[in-house]
């Protein structure tokens, strides 16, 4: 049975028979022919001219295998090809992408279309034609709304144009990934996932292995002709339980890279899983923390995610222009916004950081612009923003951060967000500084946030412009020398400007968060890197919990 599944799934991967030589590449040929034909045919088809047409065709090959308690639970391999179309009418100064004030925050999803996975020129061109026509009609309709909205509403604070000029890129590179030994991987997944079945308090678990090759074609009426791609390989596990008061607790870890060599060995994975189970067990009996405000350490990986949430999203350029956005940092360029030990930049060109693979790496963004290092904060002073091709006051050009997942218009997003700190001290010293700070503030204990799962940040003006980050593993560190205690049930909350100004010291370590970030332009792969940080004041509030009790009966294997 197993054998036949293998044979079959291998076959499924064959259709993505895209050529990898530029001259013979029918996809590139179909895209450019249809681009030229559409652009010249539609340019002056209506009174409002078409001034920009861009196609992005994303070709993917993915395989996912999930194992639970020693058995394979899911396996699928899927080839895919989707087309995104960007149409702009009128002029770069004012086009159909312009925000319609009062009409909702962001532009609606534009739709992504399934196209041929075989790269046949006729089939591709037929679909490109069909969807270009729809996208063009929608752009004209949207522009009519923009004109009317502009006529009847107050002038915008930031009069920047809607689209910036770039030098068209030309590049041709194909990513590929050799098939791993699937039988060996399945055996390993089964074997290692069985480990979780030995613990009665584990209410759910999974071990998940996936890999994907993504190749993107980007062509536009300005002359860009790019093929770019990369591989995403990942292995992750998750183990959950529930406390007697109904709080769901979870430990998980994800490893990612661009080749199978980036994944951990069996021994390393086993050791991490064992540690996670121990942490889960400790959390089951951990005491619930009452709302607290005081000093805390964010350990490196947690600090990276914290930065991503509280400041990263607010430095996305377009957010400092949208009329309904908080524009937290729009007018703070050149001002000190955090401790002068902190330097922050986003550099998608980095494939790794000190030997650790970065998931947020890309060569070209989704607007065909080469990924570039964007300097955001230098020694505590705000220097710039993450920019896509939507200019903002003082920042006219893209720095290659226009990103999206298929089906959404690109906006400015993070890639590899990197926090660096001067004067980093060994971690033990940072811990000593935490205790010292607690004593100074008259607090009996401080907190160490060892792991954070995810967070939310609200940047819109209509809501509360604050952030919330969900810690997974928190320790209380007492000033009187008592051993550390695991605690649970708190969320990190705050407002960005206040929180950000309270970073007091950093360690000389670093941690990498590799994951996916969701926003109005969909889910994009990102990384964040930071050293451990001491924050002089952090605020926590009680976390939401489920009202569900733990399972009535024990898991069957442990009901003897």
């Amino acid at each position: 049975m197993l054998k036949s599944i293998l044979a079959l799934t291998l076959l499924c991967l064959t259709p993505a028979a895209y050529a990898d030589e530029e001259g013979k590449d029918t996809v590139m040929s179909a895209l450019t022919k249809e681009l030229d034909r559409s652009f010249s045919g539609l340019k002056n088809a209506e009174k409002v001219p078409l001034y920009y047409l861009g196609y992005e065709l994303t070709v993917t090959r993915t395989r996912e295998i999930a194992a639970k308690l020693g058995a394979i639970e899911y396996e699928a391999a899927q080839p895919g090809a989707t087309l995104d179309i960007d149409v702009r009418v009128n002029s770069a100064e004012l086009d159909n992408s312009h925000q319609v004030k009062g009409g909702g925050g962001s532009r609606a999803q534009q739709g992504s279309y399934q196209v041929s996975i075989e790269g046949g020129e006729d089939a591709l061109r037929a679909k490109i034609w069909e969807h270009t026509d729809k996208a063009y009609k929608k752009a004209l309709e949207d522009f009519t709304k923009v004109k009317m909205n502009k006529a009847v509403t107050a002038a915008e604070e930031d009069p920047s144009p809607d689209f910036s000029a770039v030098t068209p890129e030309k590049s041709y590179e194909t990513a590929a990934l050799a098939e791993p030994d699937l039988a060996a991987w399945k055996e390993r997944l089964k074997k290692q996932s069985a480990y979780f079945s030995t613990f009665p308090f584990v209410y759910d678990s999974s071990l998940f292995f996936s890999y994907e090759t993504e190749n993107r074609y980007l062509v536009n009426s300005e002359g860009a002709r790019v093929k770019t791609g990369r591989n995403y390989v990942s292995l992750s596990y998750s183990v959950t339980s529930r406390t007697t008061d109904g709080m769901d607790i979870r430990r998980s870890l994800s490893y990612s890279g661009d080749s199978f060599d980036d994944l951990p060995s069996e021994e390393k994975l086993a050791a991490d899983m064992a540690r996670s189970v121990k942490e889960l067990e400790a959390l089951r009996t951990a005491q619930v923390v009452e709302p607290y405000s005081g000093p805390a350490i964010l350990s490196a990986r947690a600090a990276a995610l914290y930065f991503h949430e509280i400041i990263g999203h607010r430095l996305e350029g377009h957010r400092n222009k949208l009329e309904d956005s908080g524009q937290t940092f729009a007018k703070k360029v050149g001002q000190k916004i955090t401790s002068d030990i902190i330097t922050l930049y986003d550099d998608p060109t980095l494939k790794e950081y000190k030997g650790v693979s970065l998931r947020g790496h890309y060569a070209y963004d989704n607007e065909g612009v080469r990924g570039q290092r964007a300097s955001l904060i230098e020694n505590g002073v705000l220097k710039g923003f993450l920019m896509n091709r939507s200019p903002i006051r003082g920042f006219a050009a893209s720095n290659g951060h226009g990103r999206r997942s298929p089906g959404f218009p690109a906006v400015s997003r993070m890639g590899n967000l990197i926090v660096e700190a001067t004067g980093g001290v060994p971690y033990a010293e940072l811990r000593r500084l935490l205790i010292e700070e607690c004593k100074k503030q008259g607090k009996p204990f401080g907190l160490i946030f060892d792991d954070i799962s995810n967070g939310y940040t609200s940047t819109g003006r209509a809501g509360i412009q604050s952030f919330k980050v969900i810690p997974l593993l928190v320790y209380k560190v007492y000033t009187d020398g008592r051993p550390d205690e695991a605690v649970r049930g708190v969320n990190l909350v705050g407002t960005p400007i206040a929180s950000f100004s309270k970073i007091a010291a950093a360690a000389d370590d670093f941690g990498v968060f590799n994951g996916d970030c969701g926003a109005e332009s969909g889910w994009v792969p990102v990384s964040a890197v930071s050293p451990s940080l001491l924050v002089s004041e952090i605020e926590v509030e009680k976390a939401e919990k489920s009202q569900q009790k733990p399972p009535v009966l024990n898991p069957p294997l442990h009901d003897k």
Binding site: G70, E73, A76, S116
Partner: protein, 556 residues
């Protein structure tokens, strides 16, 4: 294997079934049996009550899907699946947690897990069953308390039993996943979709094949168990273009099958694609129509849809599902009962028509019927039902939930992975009485149609082959008295009600199998229908602008 399934159908044995009869060494049934035993004996949170009933239903097999357009593949998927659902009841058989949606937002859903182990691993299977049972149990307790409060707050004249008794039964049929030659079907999909390269009138087209093949395994705390094949396959070809005024025109063909050997031959599908191409080419000169009142000839899909919308839908789901009112959902009925349930014994169609539902029918004139099953999703034997006898409604679809009229299931308790079983159709046959004047070969029926047209002093009458539903626009043909036909579009029915079924004056001898496309597989087998009078109006929908540029392939 198929031979055994096709051999004479056994009625489920009501006496011989004991839990001991479960197949030995079957990891799935063993895990189900042990988890049911443990749950029934010991699930009792804070003395709030043990379950009074628990059943599991698992589906496993292989799923294959392919889609193609203009000669190229667009999507391919091929994977094994196994999923499970728990139906757990607390309270009593008279009043349990069913037929109540705990909140209108979360809906009325059974607890299920769409991905459980693909392997015959007892421990992993039991773990998944335990997890889904725990969720189902806690939800059931909460739902029952809300339902009781709801009943107490209302003056409800009738409360019917939620779970009527059934004897223990068992059914074991050989059932294993079948595979199509997937490589060959990828090639077929390419070839069939490439047919439309010949038809400039076809602007967009697609060919989609899906095939899920495997088995369903059911076990209840009453000891009833069933294992039977569960499969669903379909091929659909669709083509669309534009009328001269930009109104979209569509033509499509769909065939359903369950066994790999019944997949439609590629040659026949190639012919169908050619027919659709020709049909759309003919339709491309279509003109809009303003309004029409008069005889209508409904063929194929159109005939089936008329019965589906007006009759079949209205005799399904005979029990209301209640919920609590909220600010946003002011209705305390979450799901209405079928509207004809209250009209038992009344005239619903012309007196020369009978309607029968037969889940045990596997083929009709060689065509596979997708509604086939031997035991329903509550383990009750499938039964043939006389729904309409000589035009009068005699029966409706029953699960184990009682209604005012019936206190027993008629083997139509059906549900997909996310639903609780409810009375639903399988294979619906529209069968005329043997009245030569009203049952005619299609060619004769067309003559009669024109005679009627002439009698009513019309210049032309309307023939419809397909529509999506009674409220959406469709295309049709004007048929002139001399037999000449012209395509029309941009029209929809107005004021259609049950009257249309009573106005059927004649039907064809030829029949057509139409797939229902509901959450559970089913079909309608119907003749073409001549309706005395129907009203058609111009659609409110505005035509789109035609594409700015010519199709790149045909415009060359």
């Amino acid at each position: 294997m198929t031979k055994t399934i096709l051999s004479i159908l056994f009625f489920l044995s009501a006496s011989a079934a004991r839990a001991e009869d479960l197949p030995q060494g079957d990891a799935l049934f063993s895990a189900m049996k042990d988890e049911i035993a443990r749950s029934m004996a010991r699930l009792d949170m804070d003395k709030l009550g043990k379950p009074c009933f628990l059943s599991y239903q698992a589906w496993d097999g292989h799923s294959f899907g392919v889609s193609a357009s203009f000669g190229d593949l667009e999507q391919v998927s091929s994977r094994d699946y196994r999923q499970v659902k728990a139906d757990l009841r607390v309270g009593t058989y008279k009043l349990d947690n069913s037929h109540y949606a705990p909140s209108p937002m979360t809906g009325y859903n059974a607890e299920s897990d769409p991905y459980i182990t693909l392997e015959e691993n007892y421990d992993a299977l039991r773990f998944s069953l335990w997890a889904v049972t725990d969720r189902a149990y806690k939800k059931a307790l909460e739902t029952l308390s809300k339902k009781k409060a709801f009943i107490e707050s209302k003056s409800l004249a009738e409360i019917h039993d939620d779970l009527t008794p059934q004897p223990r039964r068992s059914l074991l049929r050989p059932a294993q996943a079948e595979r199509l030659d997937e490589e060959a079907w990828k090639e077929n999909a390419r070839r069939i979709s490439a047919v439309f390269r010949k038809y400039p009138a076809v602007k967009h087209s697609s060919v989609i094949l899906n095939f899920n093949s495997g088995r369903s395994s059911f076990l209840s705390s009453e000891g009833t168990f069933v294992r039977q094949p569960a499969c669903a396959g379909s091929v659909s070809i669709s083509a669309s273009g534009y009328a001269p005024d930009g109104f979209p025109l569509r033509a499509g063909h769909r065939e359903d099958f369950c066994l790999a050997r019944d997949v439609p031959p590629a040659d026949k599908l190639l012919e169908k694609a050619e027919e659709l191409g020709a049909e759309l080419t003919a339709m491309a000169r279509s003109e809009p129509l303003k309004a029409y009142i008069g005889p209508v000839l409904l063929e194929k899909t159109a005939a089936a849809r008329l019965f589906e919308s007006l009759l079949v839908y209205s005799i399904s789901n005979p029990r209301e599902v209640w919920t609590e009112k909220t600010r946003w959902t002011p209705d305390s009925v979450f799901r209405q009962a079928g509207q004809l349930v209250e009209r038992l014994g009344m005239r619903v169609t012309s007196p020369f028509l009978n309607v029968v539902d037969d889940p045990l029918a596997r083929y009709h004139e060689g065509k596979p019927l997708s509604g086939f099953y031997e035991a329903d999703d509550e383990g009750v034997p499938a039964k043939r039902l006389d729904l309409v006898k000589r035009g009068k409604l005699a029966q409706y679809y029953m699960s184990r939930a009682a209604t005012r009229d019936f206190s027993e299931s008629n083997g139509h308790g059906r549900a997909d992975l996310n639903d609780y079983p409810s009375g639903l159709p399988s294979n619906v046959f529209i069968i005329p009485e043997d009245t030569p004047a009203r049952v005619l070969p299609l060619a004769e029926l067309k003559k009669k149609f024109l005679e009627l047209c002439k009698e009513q002093e019309q210049d032309y009458c309307i023939r419809v082959r397909s529509f999506d539903n009674l409220n959406s626009p469709f295309s049709a043909w004007k048929v002139y008295l001399d037999g000449r036909e012209e395509p029309v579009h941009g029209i929809e029915f107005t004021g259609v009600n049950l009257r249309a079924l009573r106005d059927i004056t004649a039907v064809s001898k030829e029949t057509f199998v139409h797939n229902l496309g509901w959450s559970v597989p089913g079909a309608i087998i119907t003749p073409s229908l001549l309706v005395q009078e129907m009203e058609i109006k111009k659609s409110e929908q505005k035509p789109e602008k035609k594409p700015y540029l010519p199709h790149p392939y045909f415009g060359k």
